[in-house]
Amino acid sequence: MIKRVLVANRGEIAIRILRGCREMGLSTVAVYSEADAEAPHRAAADQAVCIGPPPSSESYLNITKLIGAAKHTGADAIHPGYGFLAENAAFAQAVIDAGLIFIGPTPAAIESMGDKTNARRMAVAAGVPVVPADEAPPTEPAALTAAAGKVGYPLLIKAAAGGGGKGMRIVRQAVHLIEAFAAAGREALSAFGDGRVFLERYVERPRHVEVQILADHHGNVVHLGERECSIQRRHQKIIEETPSPAVSPAIRRAMTDAALAIARAVNYRNAGTVEFLLAPDDSFYFLEVNTRLQVEHPITELVTGIDLVQAQLRIAQGEPLWLRQEDIVARGHAIECRICAEDPAQQFFPSPGTITRLREPRGPGVRVDSGVAEGFTVPIFYDPMLAKLAVWGETREAARRRMITALRDYVILGCTTAIPFLIDVLEHTAFSEGATQTHFIAEHFPKWENPQRHRHIAAIAAAIEAQRAKQPSAAGTSGPHQVATPWQTLGHWRVGEA
């Protein structure tokens, strides 16, 4: 039985996993880099260990330091979260070799699914459809051009070793092939330490639909339905929902059967996700298996009521699966928005900074998985995700309206985020009609500017602040409302020629 869990991650996911452990009565250990000394996740555990300098290669990716921290604190299990070492078979093996429990799949499953060319072959063997591809393209330009021609344009260059959009490029014309191939290889090398990339036919206007699975150490596998993650920017998901508005009961049956077949074929254990492309004609193709807890796991938790982190812990300590397939019933609809330090008006460039004001939304069916706090400076070394906002509603429309309301209530100042953009996406007719596909943002928001619905009210707020800064005894500084006002903290504000 697991007694003390070290969470080898940071930010919102570390906090979420640590909470799951605490709820099960387990003792907890957080790790942090020197850049994260003030990070909220550090304080969310019973103990915290500094594992090195800011660059992730010297801290959150440092296997020796992480195992050392586990040994030093007497942890008997390690949860990798997502990203960092979550899909690194060598890490999983090192944890096991150190006599600890790795909360995740076996190193063998991570390795066989982590290599996407191998994953494709296993999917084909399991009778699951895949997209046309060249798994080992030549690097010599003329041969590469010929190989790409065989796969067919448009095509996608993808990292063999990774996910999350890193090392990925779409190529529509042969003339861009060579540069894109080199860039994808470089990005893959820096992100995953493995520069191998492969070519795949690009399915136009697909939906991205994935199936959550849970498998125990005794041969039992169940699925927890699908999630649709079609709304993406930079090839990374930004809005996810379940159920998918495009998945009929017949598609769901076929897709979940395919996911279970792949899980069985690789003798999968613990939580995992099988990703598919769903084409406009309802055909679907296997993409890859994510051998970890997904960023978007909360929406599955909201509709099924099953805590995936606690399920991972129970499976990892050898419990036979307590859920039969017929016990797993999804109710209502859930949507998640990723809240990142990025500027949607500037092609979603990362926008790190210090969070000077933070107010998170709440209310029935509203869940915030946050990794930041007021006063925290978002480090430039890591992923720009600050928090995830997930909502549940009885219907898709109820969930959509609840999400819009929650986003309007969300205040983050100091870091630019995509909150106003997310509101515009959720309010778009194509979204409310469920016409989501991976080109949604490029198609409906080729150019986007910050909305100006409240510009005058905002200017009035700023002007009153300026006026009060100049005349500290002005109206409103006395009386019963004094303590609660946000206007109090303002010092002197020099205003141009008044």
Partner: protein, 157 residues
Amino acid sequence: MKISLRDQHGVIELDVRADGDRYVVEIDGHTHEVRLHGEALVVDGHQHTVATARDGQARLVAIGGEVHRFEPHSGAEHTMEHVAAPEVTAPMPGKILQVLVQVGDKVAVGDGLVVLEAMKMETRLSAEAAATVREVRVAAGDMINGGQVLMVLEYGG
């Protein structure tokens, strides 16, 4: 008190007068009665939940999911908008991975200039219009700050 604020869309002129427990604010030729109640800004009887923060000289205002940034406006305003700046600046702090051009190179719209990495993402900066490269101030491997000038172009080349 007359106050001039500037955001990305231009200058807003306001006149703010404190009057007992309320303010009278003139903006764009309209007069509004404004009161403060906790986090609410009550404008002509309509309540708005507002949060503010300071960013150097600027004020950030969050309202209804929007974020507005206002700088104090001094009056001496240049109208530089819609003209591509000759300086290519870093949109964020990070590291230069590759410099794709040299001084004297002629570039066309969309040609890559520099590849940089921040927050684990590789980003390519491209020319906004046909130009000639006049100066290159960074090299591969350099760590850069947000807003730092990376190279200088001469447009129309």
